[in-house]
């Protein structure tokens, strides 16, 4: 696998708490389980979280700032996932701030990972539009914008899409997270089409993740939902991974409109 085949994808949103870290952990795990060699890079320096989502918090010895400042080699700092062979995490530093790393250093790190034969490098971006955002996007060649079907989140997504364009990250992918099918059906919540409509045609819909308790329980255990069978959010994340690999996978048939979600839940034996 030549280093030119490496996909470098930043996961961003502008607003905090919309599901960037959850998405990074799940897509990364799903891709690795499909045989990709995946490095996850936590660029949220000062607010380390991706380690928790993956259940790797007790295994951290070195972090990204240690690597950048020369106290550790990249390979020493990379943590191999417990369950998934092809998955590695470069943790953020918890006690430093975003200025501890600069865009040139991020590009250097990513170059090293490319040379190590990773096929996917996925970067978990901090909230905000300041230096943390510039660091996280510096070495990326593709971007995923995560939004919730909710006003302020969509507004921030729009702003981020503009900033990504300015960084030459055009036509980002869009993930709508925490969708509540019943509310959409009752026209109480923005539908995916509404979100796409207001954000415009420059974004490509990559996936829709329903609001799902499994995200909370699986994060509590440090096992991304994508590794668990029989839940919709995990299924949706696996579908996203397949789409990223170039497969055409139908959306979980816009779960919201037809009551399909309920039927699917019925299939999985969940009582609701």
């Amino acid at each position: 696998m030549s280093e030119n085949n490496t996909r470098v994808i930043v996961i961003t949103s502008g607003k905090g708490g919309v599901g960037k870290t959850t998405t990074t952990a799940n897509i990364g795990t799903a891709l690795a389980n499909m045989g990709e060699k995946v490095a996850l890079l936590d660029a949220d320096i000062g607010l380390r979280n991706l380690d928790l989502a993956l259940g790797l918090e007790n295994r951290i010895v070195y972090d990204i700032v240690d690597v950048v400042e020369g106290r550790a080699k990249l390979r020493q700092a990379l943590i191999k996932d417990k369950r998934t062979q092809n998955l590695a995490l470069l943790p953020a530093a918890q006690t430093r701030d975003k200025s501890a790393v600069n865009p040139a250093q991020m590009r250097q790190l990513i170059q090293e990972l490319r040379e190590d034969g990773y096929t996917f490098i996925i970067i978990d971006c901090p909230a905000g539009i300041e230096q943390g955002f510039r660091n996280a996007t510096a070495g990326a060649t593709e971007a995923i914008v995560v939004t919730n079907p909710e006003m302020s989140s969509v507004r921030d997504a729009d702003r981020i899409i503009g900033l990504l364009e300015a960084q030459d990250l055009r036509n980002p992918y869009l993930i709508v997270n925490r969708l509540r099918p019943k509310m959409v059906k009752n026209q109480e919540m923005l539908a995916v089409e509404d979100v796409q409509d207001v954000l415009g045609s420059s974004v490509k819909l990559l996936g829709i993740i329903p609001e799902d308790e499994v995200i909370i329980t699986s994060t509590n255990k440090g096992e991304p939902a994508a590794t668990l069978e029989g839940n919709l959010a995990g299924q949706a994340y696996r579908n996203i991974a397949r789409r990223l690999r170039g497969e055409t996978v139908p959306f979980l048939d816009l779960e919201e409109k037809t009551g399909f979600l309920d039927r699917l839940k019925g299939l999985f034996g969940s009582k609701k």
């Binding site: 909710e150 006003m151 969509v154 507004r155 729009d158 702003r159 503009g162 959409v184 009752n186 026209q187 109480e188 919540m189 923005l190 539908a191 509404d194 409509d197 207001v198």
Partner: protein
Amino acid sequence: MPSLFERLFGKREKPAETAKNRLKLVLMHDRADIPGPMMEQMRQEILTVLSKYVVIDEQHLDVSIDKADGGIALVASIPIVRVNAD
């Protein structure tokens, strides 16, 4: 769920619709990105020109960006106290 009244006498806008309309408007505003100082300068210059002809209630002058069919519009509401006599 719409009430019988709403079903009989026209429906109220759904929350999702309200959200979408408000979002469209605020995004147009965000994207237009007219800086505050420029807005203020425009306001001042509009005032200067109009003051030649009318006395304006400056307290209630309102210049804002709004939605027009298919695009955005600069909308000014300019309360006139009286027309200049001379």
